[in-house]
């Protein structure tokens, strides 16, 4: 396997920064693509799972906003958080 151990410190640092930047780009691109990809037919309106959604803090999820809007109307759901 290729390692950075044989390289001098500056080159190894530059390569490491490039790897981190690459991971960041992969994350941003995958996030945008995930948001833009339409859900498959029949899955447009996934059912909210009260147990899962009340404990989830992923604000990027479509169901997060829907669940918390509903929870405002129904105070018993808000208590679970």
């Amino acid at each position: 396997m290729i390692t950075l151990a044989g390289l001098d410190k500056t080159t190894a640092l530059i390569i490491a920064i490039c790897v981190i930047a690459f991971l960041l780009v992969v994350f941003i691109v995958s996030f945008i693509l995930y948001r833009k990809t339409p859900p498959p037919k029949g899955c447009e309106h996934l059912k909210i799972d009260d147990g899962a959604c009340s404990h989830c803090s992923e604000v990027g999820c479509d169901l997060y906003a829907i669940y918390h809007e509903k929870a405002k109307d129904d105070p018993s759901k808000e208590k679970k958080e």
């Binding site: 190894a12 490491a16 990809t37 147990g51």
Partner: protein, 196 residues
């Protein structure tokens, strides 16, 4: 080679039962309590966690040992692991969304929940903190994730049966679930003498 294989299998059993991720190390309690109320949801969540833990451990090990350590940046490990886990979940979600409607239907809402599951980050972090080699890191990833799947399934089965009981109103739901998890943890603790 044979001795290493035996220790690999023993490590998987150890991480699966004796040093269980949820009941002994207390990682991933949030999704364990939240999703462990229906058997089908629990199995879906467990399988998704198995997939993500295994592949994030597989990707993070070489990044830490062959990129971050030689560059003198081992303190950046948590940031890199979070990026890898989040990207992996997004990419997997993207492929499932595009090519597997059936899987998307069963896993769809659990995929974002995995990103915030501390069990995934905990395993990857533990692999580097304990200075495990590649084989043992994979044993940790496999054993831990299968341990999570097993415990969330058993927990969901118990909770499904408990719903039929006439428990006091104040104890229904999460309070009874926490007591159940505590009893399960004590039962698992009984296996800790196996190594000796």
């Amino acid at each position: 080679m044979y001795a290493y294989f035996v220790s690999f299998l023993l490590a998987i059993v150890s991480y699966l039962l004796i040093d269980n991720v949820v009941l002994q190390r207390f990682y991933g309690i949030c999704s364990f309590i939240g999703v462990g109320n229906k058997t089908k949801s629990a199995v879906s969540m467990g399988l998704a966690v198995v997939f993500v833990i295994f592949f994030s451990a597989l990707i993070c090990f070489p990044i830490y040992h062959y990129v971050l350590v030689p560059a003198g940046l081992p303190f950046m490990d948590t940031v890199v692991y979070i990026l890898v886990i989040a990207s992996l979940v997004q990419v997997v979600g993207l492929f499932i969304k595009k090519y597997s409607p059936a899987l998307y239907k069963s896993l769809g809402i659990y995929l974002p929940l995995i990103t915030t599951n501390c069990a995934v980050l905990g395993v990857v972090q533990e692999n580097t903190d304990s200075l495990l080699d590649f084989g043992m890191s994979m044993a940790n990833a496999l054993g831990t994730s299968l341990g999570y799947l097993l415990m969330i399934f058993v927990f969901a089965c118990i909770r499904t049966r408990m719903e039929a009981y006439n428990a006091p109103r104040a104890m229904k739901g999460v309070p009874l679930a926490l007591i159940t998890a505590g009893i399960m943890a004590m039962a698992i603790m009984g296996l800790s003498g196996m190594g000796a």
